[in-house]
C-alpha cells in the first residue's frame, strides 16, 4: 500500500493505492499523521480511494481516529472516488454516516475550501500521479 500526500492550500489530499489491510492501515495512519496535527493548520483532509480495492476494519478505524481529531478542531475529513466494493464496505460498516463520502477528489476539495479548489485546479493533471 502506498499513500503519498499532496497539499492544495489548506487541504491535504492523500492518494492511497492498494489494499488497506492491517499493514496498509499503518501506511495510511503514517500518511495522515502530520495533516491531523493541530499545528498543521489543515482545514480538510481528502483521502482518494480510487486505487484502493479493499479497506479493513483497521483501516476504517484509522479514518475514524482522523475524523475525531479533525472534528475536534472544526476541520473535516472526506473520502473520494470509492471503488464499488469499497463503497459497499462503507455502507456495510455504516461508515458513510461517519465520514463524508464524495464522488471525486475535486468535489471533496471544493467542499472544504475554495482556495484549495483553486490550487487543485491550477495544479491540474501534472500533480496527479
Amino acid at each position: 500500500m502506498q499513500c503519498p500526500t499532496h497539499v492544495y492550500a489548506d487541504v491535504v489530499v492523500a492518494r492511497a493505492a492498494g489494499r488497506i489491510d492491517f499493514a496498509g492501515a499503518q501506511v495510511l495512519e503514517d500518511a495522515l499523521r502530520d495533516a491531523i496535527a493541530p499545528e498543521a493548520g489543515v482545514r480538510g483532509i481528502v483521502v482518494d480511494l480510487e486505487h484502493v480495492d479493499y479497506i479493513s476494519s483497521v483501516g476504517l478505524r484509522v479514518l475514524m481516529v482522523a475524523s475525531k481529531a479533525m472534528r475536534a478542531r472544526k476541520a473535516v475529513i472526506a473520502v473520494a472516488s470509492l471503488q464499488p466494493v469499497v463503497a459497499e464496505i462503507f455502507e456495510i460498516s455504516r461508515f458513510h454516516h461517519v465520514v463524508d463520502v464524495r464522488a471525486s477528489v475535486r468535489d471533496a476539495v471544493g467542499a472544504v475550501s475554495p482556495h484549495a479548489l483553486a490550487a487543485y485546479d491550477a495544479a491540474g493533471a501534472a500533480d496527479i500521479p
Partner: protein, 318 residues
C-alpha cells in the same frame, strides 16, 4: 457435541414482538399470498417457509442463554439470561422427571446474563445438580444478590437443587461434562469471559459481550488463536463497526465486521451473530445479516464461511 440450541439471543434487555409488529408481518404475508390458493396445510407451510425470515419469524426475544447438546446425560448451557426460563421448562420435559445435572457457563454477571435464574425451575427441584462455572470471583455473590429483598421475593436459599460454584482459570484446560473447556478474558466493563468447548472433534466458541480493537495485533492474535478452526463461533455483533468504534466505543461490544475478520483469520466454519441490539427490529437484523454475508464474500480468501444471525429457537447441528 451434537447441537447448539438458542434460548435467548438479544443483548442488554429482552425484547418482545409487539402487536403492531405481528400485524405488519401478517399484512406482508397476505400481500405476498395475494391471488394464491392453498390446497392444504402443507402448501401453506411451504408458502410461509418461502417468505423472508423477518416476515414470518422473529429474532426475539430473550436475553442470552445458549444450550450445547453434548450427547451425554448432562445439560450444558451458557449464561442465565431470560432464555433460561423456557430452557428449564424444556429440559424438564426432556428429562422425564428424573434428577439431572446442569453445567452452567457464565460469561459475566451483568443483569441481562443472570436475570433468568430466579425463573429456572430445575433449580427448585431436589435431586437436581446445578454447577455454575465462571472466571469471576464475585459470581456467586452476584447471583445471590439479585434475589435479595426488595429486588425479588424468592431468596436464593429457596432453591432445592444442589447448587455449586466453580471458578475457572483462563488459559487452562478444564474437563467438564465430557468436554474440553477453555476460558478467555475479554474486554468488557467488569470483564467477561469467552468459552471454547471441544468434544468429539467439534469446537464451539461462545464469545459474547466482548469488544475488539483489531488494530491491537497482540490482542487480535490471541483471539484468532482462541477461535482457531472452530465449527461455530457465537459472536457479539451488537453494533455496526461505525458505532462500535465511535459513539459506542468502550461500551464493551463488537460488530459484524470484526466478527467476519476474526473468524476468517481463524479459519472458522460458521460465524453466528449474537447479542442483538434491542433497538433493532427484525427487518434491521435481517439487513445486517445480508450485509455481513456480503462482507464475508468481499474479504473471503479461502473457503466460504457460513454466516447466520441467531434467533430464539434456532438450532445448529454440529
Amino acid at each position: 457435541m451434537k447441537r447448539i440450541r438458542f434460548w435467548g439471543t438479544r443483548g442488554s434487555i429482552p425484547v418482545a414482538l409487539t402487536a403492531e409488529g405481528v400485524r405488519r408481518k401478517l399484512v406482508t404475508a397476505l400481500r405476498s399470498a395475494s391471488g394464491r390458493t392453498f390446497a392444504n396445510d402443507a402448501e401453506i407451510e411451504k408458502f410461509v417457509e418461502g417468505l423472508d425470515f423477518a416476515d414470518h419469524g422473529t429474532f426475539g426475544g430473550h436475553s442470552p442463554c445458549v444450550e450445547i447438546e453434548t450427547g451425554g446425560p448432562d445439560f450444558v448451557v451458557c449464561d442465565l439470561g431470560s432464555g433460561v426460563r423456557p430452557f428449564g421448562q424444556d429440559t424438564l420435559a426432556r428429562s422425564g422427571g428424573g434428577p439431572r445435572t446442569y453445567h452452567v457457563f457464565m460469561s459475566h454477571v451483568h443483569w441481562d446474563h443472570i436475570m433468568g435464574l430466579p425463573f429456572f425451575t430445575p433449580a427448585y427441584i431436589p435431586g437436581n445438580k446445578v454447577v455454575i462455572y465462571g472466571g469471576h470471583a464475585h459470581l456467586e455473590a452476584a447471583l445471590r444478590r439479585q434475589q435479595e429483598q426488595p429486588s425479588f421475593p424468592v431468596d436464593f436459599t429457596t432453591f432445592r437443587a444442589d447448587i455449586s460454584f466453580v471458578r475457572l482459570e483462563p488459559g487452562k484446560v478444564h474437563d467438564i461434562g465430557g468436554m474440553r473447556v477453555l476460558l478467555k478474558l475479554q474486554r468488557h466493563a467488569g470483564d467477561s469471559y469467552g468459552f471454547r468447548f471441544e468434544s468429539h472433534g467439534k469446537t464451539v466458541i461462545y464469545s459474547t459481550d466482548s469488544e475488539h480493537d483489531l488494530g491491537n495485533r497482540k490482542e487480535t492474535d490471541a483471539f484468532v488463536e482462541f477461535f482457531r478452526g472452530a465449527d461455530v463461533v457465537i459472536f457479539d455483533a451488537m453494533y455496526s463497526l461505525a458505532d462500535a468504534i465511535s459513539v459506542k466505543a468502550d461500551w464493551g461490544h463488537s460488530s459484524n465486521i470484526a466478527g467476519v475478520e476474526l473468524c476468517h483469520a481463524a479459519g472458522v466454519k460458521h460465524l453466528c451473530m449474537f447479542h442483538h441490539e434491542p433497538a433493532n427490529d427484525d427487518a434491521s437484523i435481517a439487513r445486517v445479516l445480508a450485509d455481513t454475508r456480503r462482507y464475508e464474500e468481499i474479504c473471503r480468501t479461502g473457503a466460504p464461511m457460513k454466516v447466520s444471525a441467531a434467533y430464539d429457537g434456532m438450532e445448529i447441528d454440529l
